[in-house]
């Protein structure tokens, strides 16, 4: 006979098979169903379809034909533009990803020192660029290649340059400018999460830390604040990594697609070129699969690193 609570629990577990537990959770499944049916149709199924299509030749008119690894072999061995765009994407991601992440954290941390209306105002100033849709088009006006452009105008007036520079048509300026514009755009959801996360850090932790010998704000940040907001740090990382790998709209709007000597080409612009212009869907799917692996892989890697914060 079952006497203690644990024994009763064990017997209950034994008697409740998976099927029974599922039947008991009928209400839960019904509530989940609408979301997950749509999620399956528009997220899971597309990823699987992409993987399958990446092994085929498919032009939307004829049925796809299986061609094995050919798309991937062509991508890495024959497609010079893919290599350029892969290189650009990695440069953009390796710079804008971590830098924007640090900036989100730094500004959230400073904003946290302010109160009330001023804090709300500062939050708005830093967050606004990321939400106002195509506001980045203003950079076209700033970077106009003749002397009417703001940047050229000011540099000419201050005598730093003698002739107007065609910023977005000069190869060496394209990537650095894209990085600056992307950073301007990148204080988004992760930034908000940090601001809110800093608020939830228990104030008594700071007092306790001061007793234990934490002497300045930097030590406080590393030993108290960051470990306490680790969950937000994880969430922010996902947001920043995902957006730093998908840079494309800004590049197309400012540098054009194709850009001068492909200086602004990214994996996504390359994907759009094959998917929307040339209708080589199998090849475009292979590019999408590579991008998918890059994004998910670096997310997983960074999550591993972030678990060590404050240890």
């Amino acid at each position: 006979m079952a006497t203690s609570n644990e024994e009763i629990l064990a017997s209950v577990r034994k008697n409740s098979t998976l099927g029974k537990r599922m039947a008991k959770s009928k209400a839960s499944y019904i509530m989940c169903a609408p979301y997950f049916i749509l999620f399956f149709l528009f997220t899971v199924l597309p990823v699987l379809t992409s993987i399958v299509l990446s092994f085929t030749y498919f032009n939307m008119l004829e049925a796809p034909t299986f061609i094995g690894w050919d798309n991937y072999i062509k991508l890495f061995l024959d497609d010079d533009i893919f290599m350029v765009s892969l290189k650009n994407t990695l440069i953009l991601a390796v710079i804008t990803g971590p830098v924007s992440y640090m900036l989100c954290l730094l500004f959230a941390w400073i904003i946290n020192e302010f109160k009330g209306k001023l804090r709300a105002f500062l939050t708005l100033i830093f967050y606004a660029p990321s939400i106002c849709g195509q506001a980045y088009l203003i950079w076209n006006v700033i970077l106009t290649g003749d002397r009417y452009g703001y940047l050229n105008g000011f540099l000419l007036r201050w005598g730093i340059i003698d002739n107007a520079i065609l910023w977005m048509k000069t190869e060496k300026y394209v990537l650095p400018i894209l990085i600056v514009v992307q950073l301007w755009l990148s204080l988004g959801t992760g930034f908000l999460s940090f601001i809110a996360g800093l608020q939830t850090v228990d104030k008594s932790l700071y007092e306790a830390a001061a007793m234990d010998g934490v002497k300045n704000r930097w030590q406080e940040l590393w030993y108290v604040t960051l470990p306490a907001m680790k969950p937000q740090l994880m969430f922010g990382a996902v947001m920043q990594i995902t957006s730093s790998f998908s840079i494309a709209d800004v590049s197309i709007a400012l540098a054009g697609n194709p850009s001068v000597n492909y200086s602004g080409a990214t994996i996504v612009t390359h994907l759009m070129d094959y998917g929307q212009t040339r209708f080589e869907m199998g090849y475009a799917s292979a590019i999408a699969v590579i991008l998918f692996l890059l994004m998910v892989g670096s997310n997983k890697l960074i999550q591993k690193l972030l678990r060590r914060v404050g240890e």
């Binding site: 959770s25 209400a27 839960s28 509530m31 989940c32 979301y35 997950f36 749509l38 999620f39 528009f42 997220t43 597309p46 990823v47 379809t49 992409s50 020192e113 109160k115 009330g116 001023l118 709300a120 939050t123 708005l124 100033i125 830093f126 606004a128 660029p129 939400i131 849709g133 195509q134 506001a135 088009l137 203003i138 950079w139 700033i142 002397r147 009417y148 105008g153 000011f154 000419l156 301007w184 959801t189 809110a196 608020q199 007092e207 001061a210 934490v214 300045n216 704000r217 030590q219 969950p231 969430f235 996902v238 790998f245 929307q276 999408a288 998918f292 994004m295 998910v296 997310n299 999550q303």
Partner: protein, 297 residues
């Protein structure tokens, strides 16, 4: 509920005057100086958008270029309205399309995502973990990855060139479900338990207890959803001119070149101002929701 956060309380002082732990005057001035410089960099392009919208045409093409407008006028906006009234499809139609698409996309997303978030946050059932892991995985890649198969699937469902082609995928965004679930987790179980004891079904508990208590979260979902749908021109899926959203029509005006520089400055202002206004209205709710956004491995 005693969940009023610090930032929701009205404060009179802008700066903390009292002596703070571990804060030096040198550190303060260094960080605040940095803040001001970066703040100007962040705000300058936005200031230009506002000023350009108010500049008469001769000031837009002025050399040397000036950031601030000297003779502000609403000329650009009246130009824009003239262009609008000339358009082949009446402009009110574009506005209606945007209202339908973002309205149903946002409402649908909130309903569908919170309905699924409730059992994910408060029930135990087989498969729950795998489902949640898939949603997190989906946040790790952007929509561009699934663009091509999405087009194929939407054609296969027969909803190409209808509003549904934009509305249905928007309902299943992963971030909304994630934020909603995280927020619901902190609603105390005791609140739900008392309703269950009165014999309420789970749907009843969800609609009468849970939903009223997670208002900040659904406002946040609404804002994020609006932001992501507002910029959508729908060019891939909507071919009929009568179905296209406002964003598409406004973009056509900005493509008009030098002659339309004034009107397109006004367009830029409208495109940027509307999401900012929405955010401004709901800022404290959004921050309250984001406080629970952390990933607990």
């Amino acid at each position: 509920m005693a969940r009023k956060k610090d930032y929701m309380k009205p404060r009179k002082k802008l700066f903390r005057r009292e002596k703070q732990l571990n804060r030096s005057a040198a550190g303060n001035s260094l960080l605040f100086a940095l803040m001001i410089i970066c703040g100007i960099f962040m705000a300058l392009p936005l200031v230009m958008i506002v000023n350009n919208a108010l500049k008469p045409l001769d000031e837009i093409y002025q050399y040397p270029p000036k950031i601030f407008v000297r003779n502000p006028s609403l000329e650009n906006f009246s130009d824009l309205f003239i262009l609008m009234s000339d358009s082949w499809v009446p402009f009110s139609r574009y506005i209606l399309n945007t209202v339908i698409i973002t309205g149903f996309g946002t409402a649908g997303h909130i309903i569908v995502a919170s309905l699924a978030a409730y059992p994910m946050a408060k029930h135990e059932f087989p498969g729950k973990n795998i489902m949640f892991q898939m949603v997190i995985l989906a946040m790790m890649f952007s929509w561009v990855v699934t663009q091509i198969p999405n087009y194929i699937i939407i054609s296969w469902l027969g909803i190409n060139n209808t509003y549904l082609a934009l509305i249905l995928p928007a309902c299943a965004y992963s971030m909304g479900l994630y934020l909603m679930k995280q927020f619901m987790e902190q609603i105390p179980d005791s609140l739900l338990e008392s309703a269950r004891l009165d014999g309420a079904s789970e749907f009843k508990v969800f609609s009468t207890i849970m939903m009223p208590n997670v208002k900040p979260a659904w406002l946040t979902l609404a804002i994020f959803q609006f932001q992501s749908m507002w910029g959508n021109q729908g060019t891939g899926f909507l071919r009929s001119e009568q179905l296209k959203p406002l964003q598409y029509a406004l973009n056509q005006i900005t493509l008009g070149g030098a002659a339309r520089a004034g009107a397109s400055a006004a367009v830029q202002f409208i495109i940027a101002a509307i999401p900012i206004a929405f955010f401004l209205a709901c800022q404290s709710n959004v921050l309250e929701t984001m406080a629970t956004s952390g990933m607990k491995e």
